[in-house]
Symmetry: C2
Subunit: 216 residues, 2 copies
Amino acid sequence: MPTPLEKARKDPDSMKARILAKARQVFGQYGYHGATTRMIADEVGIDISTLYYHWGEKRDLYEAVILDVNEDLRIKLAEVEDIVHGRPMAERLDISLDIMTDYLFERPEISNLVLFRYFGKTRDEAIMDLSLPEFVSDIACASGLVPTRKNVPNHIKMRVVAMMNLMHSFVSGEDFFRSLFGIERDEYLALVKQTLKFILIPAFATDGRNGGTRCP
Amino acid sequence: MPTPLEKARKDPDSMKARILAKARQVFGQYGYHGATTRMIADEVGIDISTLYYHWGEKRDLYEAVILDVNEDLRIKLAEVEDIVHGRPMAERLDISLDIMTDYLFERPEISNLVLFRYFGKTRDEAIMDLSLPEFVSDIACASGLVPTRKNVPNHIKMRVVAMMNLMHSFVSGEDFFRSLFGIERDEYLALVKQTLKFILIPAFATDGRNGGTRCP
DNA sequence: CGAATTTTCCATCAAATGATGGAAACATTG
DNA sequence: CAATGTTTCCATCATTTGATGGAAAATTCG
């Protein structure tokens, strides 16, 4: 029997999926406590009890959102790995950053939710305990910093985390930084890519394995 | 006549200051909506109405916290500039990163609050509008990327923002990443410094003015 | 000391928020 | 169609949360 989340992902027009989609946005913008079930229901245009009928407690809906986002990220990362595998390091970084930046800019709630999970605490213990794969080892391998997903040393993991944090923070902070710099979306996106490459390529280009096969 | 914030900063033992200090911590951990005035009052060990007596609305207290943190940061940045001015770029970065990382690790609520302001929205418009100097141009100048605080180009500002985001995200995410890596505080702090330098020094070391005078 | 001022706490309110029961609307199926 | 199951909404609750009035306690000052 499929979970509610699986049902929602299978049928994107269903009420479950529509609620989940809006919940992603609202939780992403306001955080767990800042978002209310009423805000989400209003966004969908339904009564609040319909929301509870489909997803149960607020916490369960939030958990579904996190799992949903994780699944999207997993799929996207596999896609990127497919594209860049076998290329030299600098090129691989260049392409990955382009693809992931574009992807996240279209779905900023992903970066928001990831950052909220890293940095913010919740008054609800059960939510804090919601531990999930963080893809750190996968990205380390896919980006060519290590030959295998297993036993990735911590200093490499940290570099991966740094790359991800940098990207997420630029995506999440779009509104803030654009108004700080007084620029439009397109210009900001270009600036983000340029800055990411300026910072990351010098550090990583001479590092890691080049070419080679797919990540085992 | 001094503002409540000025009074609190002048007398750190006063009730105003004690409340402000706890408010920093609680707002930093849980964000604006996640923090309640009752949580803060309980932390101080006072009745909630005493809190309201000293600081008025929740929003006003939050505003005071933001201004307080900004003032601390301003002071610290000036101190760092004093120490590193005139040194070559790589050395300047090396020293600044050490000092600022140590400083923020002692006061993680600063990083938390800064990140919450960048990324999260608030249901209260008046809080979102709370615009403050962000030191970006000052840091650009102090770190030697530009010769003067004025007319710093956007691509340079972005690099500064990147450095700050990276540092803040490591500080804010301490709990999360330490449990992800399974390491102790000291080891994590060392790893953070090492990673910051690994990433930032290659990109910036060959850039910007070296030596020279203080930032005008 | 005693009056005036400041600070603190108790009791309480109104609004917001998470959550639910039950009736109505809608859909499915024999 | 009628019976059954599913979905949606209205009304309502209990709790939490921001906020305040007023009495009591503490402090200041002539």
